[in-house]
């Protein structure tokens, strides 16, 4: 499955595989129908993506003095170039 831009069938296949269901099973067809028409589910997936994105982008830099303390703690200061 293309990670960048999966088509609807691939998405459904992925969802149905996770459920252990065949693409044409009653449950899968019902899920597809639901997803096509449910703005709540569409918004849920979009906001989960945004949530992950926010936590991915929130990073901290190791301060230089914390690096020095680490090398000293490990008795490796003499190898720190």
């Amino acid at each position: 499955m293309s990670k960048e831009n999966p088509n609807c069938k691939e998405v459904m296949q992925h969802i149905c595989e996770s459920l252990g269901e065949d693409l044409n099973s009653e449950k899968c067809v019902a899920i597809k129908h639901h997803l096509d028409n449910c703005s709540g589910c569409q918004s849920y997936f979009k906001t989960v993506e945004l949530t992950i994105d926010l936590y991915k982008k929130y990073n901290v830099q190791l301060p230089e003095d914390a690096h020095k303390r680490l090398m000293s703690f490990l008795n490796l200061s003499d190898c720190d170039e």
Binding site: K46, T51, L54, Y55, K56, N59, V60, A66, L70, L74
Partner: protein, 188 residues
Amino acid sequence: MEEKELVELAKQGDRKALAKLVKDNEQTVYNFAFKICRDREKAENIMQETFLSMVKHINQFDGNSKLSTWLYRIVSNHCLMQARKEKNKYFVSINEDNEDDLYEDKYVADWSRIPHLDVENNELKKILDQSIDKLAPDYRVVFLLRDVEGLSTEETAKATDLSIPAVKSRLHRARAFLRKELNEAFSR
């Protein structure tokens, strides 16, 4: 020099190789420890303990994965041990009885108005910190390893000693919990 060569040299007692491995991975370890405990001082302590474990046990590293994957396992263990020490801290528990609440919104926030590209915004940082802080650490670790650090489900399972179904179940609950927390915060 490649990581594999450095690991081999470090196993033979080469301290310079060991120092290089520490330098190559310290930012990742510190950042990940911070993301779990949301506190710079604790993150530094956990980073130190993690590399001390690495130095002591480098001979046990089998080289079948990247060193960072092995380190994620060690950091996760240290973070969970640290969290267990903080017994008085309250976390929201997610179980089958209250799981449905995670998918129902009392408020509908307009997420498109959030400055989501600007995580330097202190107010947004506070919301992100407070939200994840309520999530039990064993869920937090799974979310961070799989979604934020990008490990595979298998690698996450290995790092946390969980089965693959358990990783999947914790992951979707953690995602739903955090999404709901942010939705509520953005609705205020």
